[in-house]
Structure formats: structure tokens, C-alpha cells
């Protein structure tokens, strides 16, 4: 390369820039003409090599997956729309929406406390976040599902005073409710931090300007913070929802039949575990693809209203 460049310069004797680029000729007042020196982009020959290499690897993978009969694509096809699988898929969706919904509501409160001017409230919220992010989700879920082992009866009454209503814990906290509670507490800690990050991203001048026109703290939260936080928190929020879609699989230990535990149960019977895991994989990918499309649409909508151009 360098050799060629020097050669070209050598080809052009007296190649002073001044002769290559004519000095401005147009006198002031007349329309100037550009010198007409086209720019030649650099070539990237190694890119072609990398394309070829990637194509080769993909072809090898496809060939192996399609010709090796032990993948049992026939079993995958057979169970893809199996009733038990679709029932599990539904439970996975319910668990995800429940955990994200409750987690977001609870997380907003925790974020508010965390950012409170009261040091006591802020520190309590920080401990809450530490605890519910720190304890493994699987432990939290099992704790709520087996709550009856600790508290067989739940009663409502005046603290340290008389009680007037009693409920059997096992009836009140059905396994799926226990799972949603466990997942929600964990999720709320993450949501609180996502929201706090969103508020931190808003320039303080925005809040000052809102205060200066006479807005109350509540009006500032709703009119200034909420709309401006949205584009900031959407990516981490959906990151979390995506993760939660698959985290719900921990409910297999609480005898709730979600997508994952449905395929594991079928696999345990017909000993075709791998093809059945492919069935679950397919549906998890469909769910997360749907989420991604929703996220892209929402981000576009928010971006349009915020006109960040």
C-alpha cells in the first residue's frame, strides 16, 4: 500500500498540491467553481474474507443440525402446539406480567423512598433493594410458596390487639400467587433502581425551571419527570422484562407448571428431553421477539413525542 502511494506521487512529477488543486479562480462576486477532486473510499478486502468465513461456519452448523437425526425435529414438531406446552406458555406469560406489573408498582414506591429527602426513608429503601436483589429469586419464590410452614393461619386485626378474620395460608396463597409475590419483590428492587437511574438522568435545571414557574412536587413528578424519564428507562426496563420471562422458570420447584416445567414433565415421560427443550426454546424466543417488537414500537413513539433529533 505505502509503496503504491509513493509510486503514484513519483508518477506525478512536481506534484505540489498547488498544481493539483487550482487556487481560487473565480473573482469575488461571481459564482465560485469547486475543483472537482473526487474522493476514493478505502477498500476493505478483509471484509469479504470474513463474510466467506462466517457463511462457511453457518453452513456447517445448519448441515449438522439438519442431517443429524438425533436432534429429532419430528418430536419438536409434534409437541410444539401440545396442550400441556401451550398451557405452560400461558402460565409463563401470567407470571411474567404479574411480576413485572406488581414489581413496577412496588418499585416506584421504593424509588420514591430511596430519593426522599428523609435519610431514614432513603436508607430503609436502600436496605430493601440490597435484600431483595441479594437473596436468590429461587429462595424468595419457595419461601412464599411454603409460607404455610411458617404461618399456617393468616389473620387480620389490630397490631398487637384483637384479630377478627382468619384465613388458611395455603388457600390464600395459592402456589401461583406465592410465585408472583416472590418474583415481584425481587423485580421491584430492580425496577426501583431503573427508575432512580431515570431521575438521575434528568438535568437538575429541569426541576428548577418547573419549581420556578410554581409547580408543586407532585406536578413536577407528573408533568416534568415522568415524560422525560420514559425514554431513559425503557431500554433497562425491557432488559429486565426479557430476563424475567425466563427467570419465571424457577417456579418448577414450586410445582407450578409453566412452559419450562411442562416440557420437563413431558421429557421425563418420553425421554426426549433435548427436543422438548427445543420446544421451550422456540416459545421463549417467540415471547422475547414479541417483547422486542413492542419495545421498538414504544421507543419510537416516545422518541417522536420527545423529538430527539
Amino acid at each position: 500500500m505505502t509503496a503504491r502511494i509513493t509510486a503514484e506521487i513519483a508518477d506525478d512529477p512536481g506534484a505540489a498540491v498547488s498544481t493539483l488543486v487550482p487556487t481560487p479562480t473565480a473573482p469575488l462576486g461571481t459564482e465560485p467553481t469547486p475543483p472537482g477532486l473526487p474522493l476514493v473510499r478505502r477498500k476493505h478486502p478483509w471484509r469479504l474474507v470474513s463474510y466467506a468465513l462466517l457463511a462457511l461456519i453457518l453452513a456447517m452448523l445448519a448441515n449438522s443440525v439438519l442431517t443429524n437425526e438425533r436432534w429429532r425435529w419430528d418430536v419438536v414438531g409434534e409437541y410444539l402446539f401440545d396442550d400441556k406446552v401451550l398451557g405452560g406458555l400461558w402460565i409463563t406469560i401470567v407470571l411474567t406480567l404479574g411480576a413485572v406489573g406488581v414489581g413496577l408498582a412496588l418499585g416506584s414506591v421504593i424509588a420514591g423512598l430511596r430519593m426522599s429527602s428523609s435519610r431514614v426513608l432513603s436508607i430503609i429503601a436502600a436496605w430493601y433493594i440490597w435484600f431483595f436483589r441479594g437473596v436468590p429469586v429461587i429462595v424468595q419464590v419457595i419461601f412464599w410458596v411454603y409460607l404455610a410452614q411458617l404461618y399456617p393461619v393468616i389473620s387480620i386485626g389490630i397490631p398487637f390487639g384483637p384479630e377478627f378474620a382468619f384465613y388458611d395460608t395455603n388457600l390464600l396463597v395459592a402456589p401461583i400467587i406465592g410465585c408472583i409475590i416472590g418474583l415481584s419483590f425481587n423485580e421491584s428492587a430492580y425496577m426501583a433502581e431503573i427508575l432512580r437511574g431515570g431521575v438521575a438522568a434528568i438535568p437538575p435545571g429541569q426541576i428548577e425551571a418547573a419549581r420556578a414557574v410554581g409547580m408543586t412536587p407532585r406536578q413536577i413528578r407528573r408533568r416534568i419527570l415522568a415524560p422525560q424519564i420514559l425514554p431513559v428507562v425503557l431500554p433497562p426496563f425491557f432488559n429486565n422484562v426479557n430476563a424475567m420471562t425466563k427467570t419465571t422458570a424457577v417456579v418448577i420447584l414450586a410445582s407450578v407448571t409453566d412452559l419450562f416445567s411442562a416440557v420437563m414433565q413431558i421429557g421425563a415421560r418420553n425421554l426426549q428431553q433435548t427436543p422438548l427443550l427445543l420446544v421451550a426454546t422456540f416459545w421463549y424466543l417467540v415471547l422475547t421477539a414479541g417483547l422486542t417488537l413492542f419495545q421498538v414500537g414504544l421507543e419510537r413513539l416516545v422518541a417522536r413525542s420527545a423529538t430527539r433529533s
Binding site: G205, A212, M215
Partner: protein, 271 residues
């Protein structure tokens, strides 16, 4: 004239002899941690007066301004705006903090313009101006819209109403910010270095709007580095040094015959 005696802080309003001054600082102190930013500010601004505050960076000018609408809370002393104590209520020799709602209501009557404009980026110029009247004053949207359009016309931006802050130049953004402050029909306007973040060729358009506002009789407290503006428009100039007003007089006196050595030093540096 250097003010050396502090006006006493009284719990009741002084017996009415005409309307009260628009702004009265009574021995105002402000510390950030161990740093004393304001060390006993006394200042009275009459109705319709334009007061420019000048001084070196870090002298406390901006803090002084921000205390007037309660964006900063004075560590000691009080500020009255139109006869009303800002942010506090005096009882038993103590200053009792007002509720957020009460404090917000006071700020609604005091317009403020910031160095960095601080327009709401997700709203158009028109919506920025409408925001206060609609949300704070509860004005119907069509009325707020009409008022906002009039104000944008007044600052020469009628044709930019539908644009977002990002699409406007710094000078245009600052003029929208002035319109936004005026939309609340303030009795007092605070300007915190309104032209310091502007390209030099855009300073004039903002100062022009401010001058018109002053001529229309608005009471204005302006922290600025624009000495020519202060000289031309101000009724009084306050020179602040190390948290104190060391010189307070007409522009002609401050610029022509400064009495304090710190003022002379400062003016020699900026002129």
C-alpha cells in the same frame, strides 16, 4: 453608598405607609457546608426598579438571586417579596418552613430566567410558555394558548411557536424562556446571567427583550456580566464581593466613581 446598618426583622408587617417595597433582603446569610456564600445581604428593590448585580464568579450573586424565589433556602435572615416572607413564616423568633404547596404558590408570582434556559425539551416553544398557566394557574388551554401566542409575538418568536427547543438557537431559546416566565404574570422577574451561555452575536436579541421589559415597568433583579446593559438599563447597580454588597448606587456612580477598592479592581478587569 455602603449599607452598614441592618434593617431589623419584624414579625408583623411595618405599619402601611404606601405599598411595601417589591423585594427586601434583611440580613440574609447562606452557607454551603463550611463555606459562607452570603454574609449579611441587605437590599431593597422598589416597584418598577431594575437592579443589576455584578461581581466576580463565586462572589454569591447567583445564590443571592436564587434565594429570592426560594430555590435556595437562606441559612439566616429573611427575604420579603411584595410584603410576603419567602419560604418561611415567622413565629416566636423562629423561621418556620412553609409547605411545598405554599412555597410553590409564592414562586408562581416570581418569574425566573436561567443561564442555561432550562426549557422543557419535550415541549414546543408554545407548550413551554403554556405549561405554567395551564398546570399551575389552571387556565383553560385555549386561553393559555392565546396568552402564549401573544407573549411569543412580544419576544419576536411568533413564527417559532411549533418548534422544539433543540430546533432553536440559544438566543431564541432564552427569549422563549422569558416568555415562559412572563406567562405567569409575575410581579417580579429574576435573571440569572441570562446571556452568559449565548454566542456573542445572539446576546443583543435577549438584552433587547429585557430592555423592553424594563421600559414597560417590570421590577427586575438581574445578575449579569453585561456592563453596558447595566449602565444603560439599571436604576441601581449592586457590586457583590465575598458574599456582601460592597457598593450600591446608580450605574453612573458605580461605573464612573466607584468608592470601594474591590469595585475599582473588578471594573478595571472587566472593562
Amino acid at each position: 453608598m455602603v449599607q452598614s446598618t441592618h434593617t431589623p426583622v419584624r414579625e408583623q408587617d411595618a405599619p402601611a405607609s404606601g405599598p411595601p417595597a417589591m423585594v427586601t433582603f434583611r440580613n440574609v446569610w447562606k452557607s454551603f457546608g463550611a463555606i459562607k456564600v452570603l454574609r449579611g445581604i441587605d437590599l431593597t428593590i422598589e416597584r418598577g426598579q431594575v437592579v443589576c448585580v455584578i461581581g466576580a464568579s463565586g462572589s454569591g450573586k447567583s445564590t443571592m438571586l436564587r434565594c429570592v424565589n426560594g430555590l435556595e433556602e437562606a441559612t439566616d435572615g429573611v427575604i420579603e417579596v411584595d410584603g410576603e416572607l419567602i419560604g418561611v413564616r415567622l413565629r416566636g423568633g423562629r423561621r418556620h418552613e412553609l409547605s411545598p404547596r405554599e412555597a410553590a404558590a409564592q414562586r408562581g408570582h416570581i418569574g425566573m430566567v436561567f443561564q442555561q434556559f432550562n426549557l422543557f425539551p419535550n415541549r414546543t416553544a408554545l407548550e413551554n410558555v403554556m405549561e405554567g398557566p395551564v398546570v399551575v394557574a389552571g387556565l383553560p388551554r385555549d386561553q393559555a394558548r392565546r396568552r402564549a401566542e401573544e407573549l411569543l409575538t412580544r419576544v419576536g418568536l411568533a413564527d417559532r411557536a411549533g418548534m422544539y427547543p433543540r430546533q432553536l438557537s440559544g438566543g431564541q431559546q432564552q427569549r422563549v424562556a422569558i416568555a415562559r416566565a412572563l406567562a405567569m404574570e409575575p410581579k417580579l422577574m429574576l435573571f440569572d446571567e441570562p446571556t452568559s451561555a449565548l454566542d456573542p452575536e445572539l446576546v443583543g436579541e435577549v438584552l433587547g427583550v429585557m430592555k423592553e421589559l424594563a421600559e414597560a415597568g417590570m421590577t427586575m433583579l438581574v445578575v449579569t456580566h453585561e456592563m453596558a446593559f447595566a449602565r444603560e438599563v439599571a436604576d441601581r447597580v449592586a457590586f457583590v464581593d465575598a458574599g456582601r454588597i460592597v457598593e450600591y448606587a446608580t450605574p453612573a456612580e458605580v461605573f464612573g466613581n466607584p468608592t470601594h477598592p474591590r469595585t475599582r479592581e473588578f471594573l478595571a478587569r472587566v472593562q
